[in-house]
Subunit: 204 residues, 3 copies
């Protein structure tokens, strides 16, 4: 129940982040809805397709669709107020990617895959909704360019498998990686950390 | 037989619409073919992938591929004449999205999905070929920006489920939503209707 | 064993071609890795999804992921030296698309599909990693615009089915189409061949 609640909070904040990008591009209401939907559920959809889970989760569990619809409606109606919720939304989003990472990981483990593939599936679940959002909005995905976002998911995934080396109770093995993702993401934003650049500094 | 005939007319007009966009972007013959193919069959492909239908329909039923090939060839050969067929192509396209919507709907119903998911699948079948076309041509999808297109499919889908409340004979339950999609689309184009904008008017 | 070795050489050169495009776009290390990965394994992933093979190959066979990781690392570390390997990389890439074409073809044959669909799957396997790479980098795919690349795969695929008309031993039926792809691609590059343009020459 607790995880389901976090899952829905994550869905809400992913949807709202999509709506904000879509409104920046001045899309019409249908476009805004699709971008919100894809941002929230696109990563999980790609994960389900790669694993061959059929049909994809959101077709079976209608709650996701209705949560996205409600979130899009509220975000559009209160669009002028969204800036007051920036910090809350950032927190929900951060908790959301932590949870999505572990959900993806566990689906990989359930399918008997190699740990590296499980971490890849967790990262895809958490990050590729945003990748689809940026492609549909005709941008190079932001997580390929500057943010410590996928890196947080990868580190969370590594912590999950390090923990399996110790005899831990189920919920901890589930909670620690989420906290790692959240901590890395918060620290990265607070200290403006980026991945090291592979390019020479421009003379300026 | 009648529906199969409409299906192929829809495939032809979707292909030609793709070819025209591809030629505007000055793609080479291979690019023109792929854009035509994706416009015609991309929406149904996404629907089949989401539902887990395997392999996707066009791999099994070769007719679609040959219809696309023929349409691309004719559209390229008679490209200077296409403008005289604008009205016919618009009509075929409109009938095509009506039919594709209902085909997608029925596949959702057959899989036992919630009505909202069935409507989503119908809309994806009808509209997401065009979305893929625009992404491959490096544009923000046109249906996210201005046209009443997806809205027609959604209204057609709603009419389908409203009709199930009445004891109707099978073919009518199939024909009415198609007519709703066509009517909404024709009225929207005739009266230049758009979805209400969520943005303030620019001073100008 | 021999084909597996060529397969890995192809994966390496596809990855490096992705890394070079990603570095031109000045992506961060995560973006560079994803573009390398998608260029190498994206075509095969789309083929597996269309066929309904689950999970997709690279989730099961971890070797691909590790080869991509190693290739990305080496390509980034020795990025200033890559230009000295242009010819080798071009050769690996050309051999790679030949092999990928036949691998895709054979999966289609194994699924009992029509020859045209098998050729389509071979071409998708060989070429659509590059298509995904270009979409993620916000470009119209290069193979839609100018290069004889997909055409080589299609001709290789046709040669495969022409050969089945003759009583040939298995390895030859496998090797000849690869050589056809390689020969067409090499000749096209050497003589700067392009598909005939469907557009009038610009006055200039």
């Amino acid at each position: 129940m607790f995880y389901y609640f976090i899952d829905l909070l994550g869905t809400i904040s992913f949807t709202i982040s999509g709506v904000m990008v879509a409104m920046n591009k001045r899309l019409d209401p249908f476009g805004i809805f699709i971008i919100g939907f894809v941002t929230a559920l696109g990563g999980g959809t790609i994960r389900d397709l790669l694993l061959g889970i059929k049909p994809v989760t959101w077709l079976i569990n209608s709650t996701y669709m209705f949560v996205v619809m409600g979130s899009v409606l509220l975000a559009v109606l209160f669009r002028s107020k969204l800036k007051y919720f920036n910090t809350s939304l950032f927190l929900f989003d951060t908790i959301g990617i932590g949870l999505y990472t572990v959900v993806g990981l566990e689906k990989g483990v359930a399918a008997g895959l190699h740990p590296v593939m499980c971490i890849a599936l967790g990262t895809v679940s958490a990050c590729f909704g945003g990748v689809l959002r940026d492609i549909l909005c005709n941008e190079i995905p932001v997580i390929f360019r500057k943010e410590i976002y996928a890196t947080a998911c990868i580190l969370g995934g590594i912590s999950y498998f390090l923990l399996t080396l110790f005899p831990l109770e189920g919920n901890i093995a589930f909670a620690v990686p989420i906290l790692v993702v959240i901590a890395v993401r918060l620290l990265a934003v607070k200290y403006k950390l980026q991945l090291p650049s592979v390019y020479k500094k421009e003379a300026s």
